[in-house]
Amino acid sequence: MNRTRIIFFVIIGLAIVIVAGGLIWSQVNKQPDPLAPEANDETLEVQVVSALPVADWVQGAAHQFNAEGHTLEGRPIQVTVTPMDGLTAKGRYERDELDPLPTAWIPDSRYLVELVNAAYKERLGRDVFLTDGEYRARPLAISLLSWGIYDSRAGVLEEQYDEISWQTIHDAAIAPGGWGELGGENDWGYFKLAISNPRKNISGLAAMVAAAGEYYGRTNISVEDVTDPEFQAWLGEIMSSMSDLSGGTYTVSDLALFGYTTGDAGQLLESDLLVNMQGIQTRWADPLRLVYPEYVTWFDFPFTVWMGPETSAAEKNAALEFERYLLSEEVQRQALAYGLRPANPEVPVTGEDSLFDQWASQGVLGVVPRTTAMRSPDRDVLQALLRWFDLNVAGR
């Protein structure tokens, strides 16, 4: 073999070594994209559908949880949170529209879980969410419906009626001369009720049930109660003071964004009101005052694990890991910044970042003085109210 040939083969060999080395190097040093979804097959994915009032808090906790690298039997847990109104989620569960099925659901209230369970029991003959045992629904945080009313308007109503109640709201709503007749300014126009659309937000529906509670002076409301023509006429007069009947949702964000222009007072979720107090003060010179109603509707935001075969046992247990994390003292304390009352009794309502302390001067109370809690209405009561709303208010 002459020298030229030797050199030729040496160079070819060198080329092969360089290329092979390059390929090996690029494989060894391949950097994973930090934003790419976890490719590890061992990862336990926990999909959580969360009610809107707690969604920001739960999402924040999920980011922390993921960043801290929690594992179950050596497998990393990855939590993703999808915000969804409780009523919407209930409908999607019942219509099988959730695909894939979430590992866990945090509805606004325990009774939504019961309604979904009842629907599945009819079809499958079993519960899909458990009410006892390790996987039972556990409250994560607590809030309630309270009156939110602009200070200027609250003073006028208290002067006129002594208290803020559904009956007061009713009388203000039907005053033909509007605020001028009630003792307020003429240019405030008529009284405007701030309440969520019950078709789009569970708190709107709960407020209607609470109104029925006060009307009848009891906590247990039946279909006969809500279909009584006298009650419907009374409720109709209240609802006629809603400022938007065109089908919009109307939330506390709207009350804050449009101010007393579109809503003077309303029964809304305390946590939502607390979160928006500062914004309202910045945007509208008139601050908001909180008043607690006699008939209280509580929301407990239970963490509820799906028990069907669509999720594995390991995923269910990973969901429980996240639930325990949410109930830890540190994460429960973070809930205060979202206007939520911690479910963990070890965590006080007061303290650093507590909106309850910050807005105590506006009527916010750490301990709610009245204990007449509305009982969860059954499905027929809710449907009767929604039908009445569709026909008489929404014009459907």
Partner: protein
Amino acid sequence: MAQRQARMSGSSKRSTDSGVRTVLIVLLVLLFLMIGLCCGTYMLLSRLFDGGEEPILSVPEAALTVTYSPEKELVFRELVDRFNGQGQETPEGQRVTVEAVPLDPEAMVNAVLDGGATFQAMTPDSSIWLGQLDGAWYDKAGSEAVGETARYAVSPVVIAMWEGLAREMGWPNQPISWQDLLDRAQADPDFRWSHPSTSSASGLLATLAEFYAGAGKTRGLTIEDVTAQETLDYVAALEKTVRYYGEGDEPAIIERALLEGRDFLDAFVVQEQMVTHFNTHRGGGQERLIAIHPAEGALWEDHPLALLETGDLTPLQRQTFARFRDYLLSPEAQQLVLSHGYRPADLSIPLDGPASPLTAQNGVDPSEPNTSLQIPNASIIEVVRDVWWYTKRHTNVYLVVDTSGSMRDEKLAQAQEALRIFLDQIKGEQERVGLVKFASRVNTVVTLDELGRSRTALELAVDGLQAEGDTALLDAVFVAQQQLKELGDTERINAVVVMTDGRENNSWIDLRNLVQELRKDSGVPVVVFAIAYGQDADMEVLRIIAESTGGQVHEGDVETIEDLYKILSTYF
């Protein structure tokens, strides 16, 4: 000899060395080529089969098409450009982009209901449209069409009024109501005001406010209220004082107000943001506009961004929606929104801060409005829109169409389609429409008559248009305006919509005399709207004609002519 051999041997060695060097160089080149080839092949294969970070055969974008109402063109385009400029990518390396398409809100709703929507999200000027869409979709499909919704900017609908006039009417010491506006308009025949047609939120909300005022209510409007004769009389009286309607092109109205000042209109309905825009752009010495919140109550344009759950949304489009929504609510975007004169959704941004244009100097008071009118349910809104066609100021309009030889083929075909759309858009059968065609001569093809009687004749006449001859543009405008003046109908809006693709070359009347005729005070004001169709149209002549009557010129081509006629139909 030995020396010679040595020289030869040396020469041979040099020759051998030179050959080796050549081979080496060739081999080195080959080496680099092979390395390059191998690396290239590796990269290609890895991207094709290995799910590489940037697939090169196809780069699917996580593109979301969002349709927006045109009055927020300036701010929305800037928001979209800035969002796209961030170059966001999904974890899989797909570009996240938003494509913005303008469409008037009524057309958005219709496109979704007809199944012809090419967009996955919409941002109309008001949530009213979402309610309308949801209601109709519920009837059709038993579910709701509107998914996740977010607001990023709001602005109340106001009556924009020149400061001098506002002070005459009592501002700032006493509130001004719709009734005050009616009284003023009826007492002063020279008073000119305008609101858009009901196909935009400001027009719809202004119309609702009129019906409320007519019914003597600020809430609880019923169908009986809307259709009561007293209400209809009230609204009709107020509408008779409207100079002309429009498609809600608020920037165009402000542009004209900047150019013409009070000669343009005394008052007009726009969102508050436009008043701010005018006052920050007005020339030195030009009178301010004041944002008047009607005493009966205001209504808001709330510019919702809504995801549509009607089609096959991809997960990527959902992701893009979420990112775009987050961007719109980011501090940077919210400051931009405020700088354009909107009230941002972020409540931590004070409206009276140093960066806010919402100041008394700019004619607005951020602590207002004090109250609002109740927005009725979708079925009552629908009735208001229908009834408005009967109460609105009616129109005598001549369509003047160029049929000269240059209009042959596609140009004429597109114009014919545009004319059909124009006729289709005018729902009121009491509106009077006539058709004049011109080429070498002027021919009144269909005399002015109510659409209830003339619609078929007009449609047939449009179908029968043929292109041939010269361009007697000036004569045609003269004939049309003369017929309107001879009619002597001061109750209605009298208008000419003239379209030409060329230059005047065959008229008896010259431009100077035509303008004199148009300006002549005959007691019947005729407004001319002109369409310059294609690049050869004489824009300058059309501008002079239109502006001498307080009208407008629009430029169009075969692509846009249908939209132009559709827009102009909303003026009547």
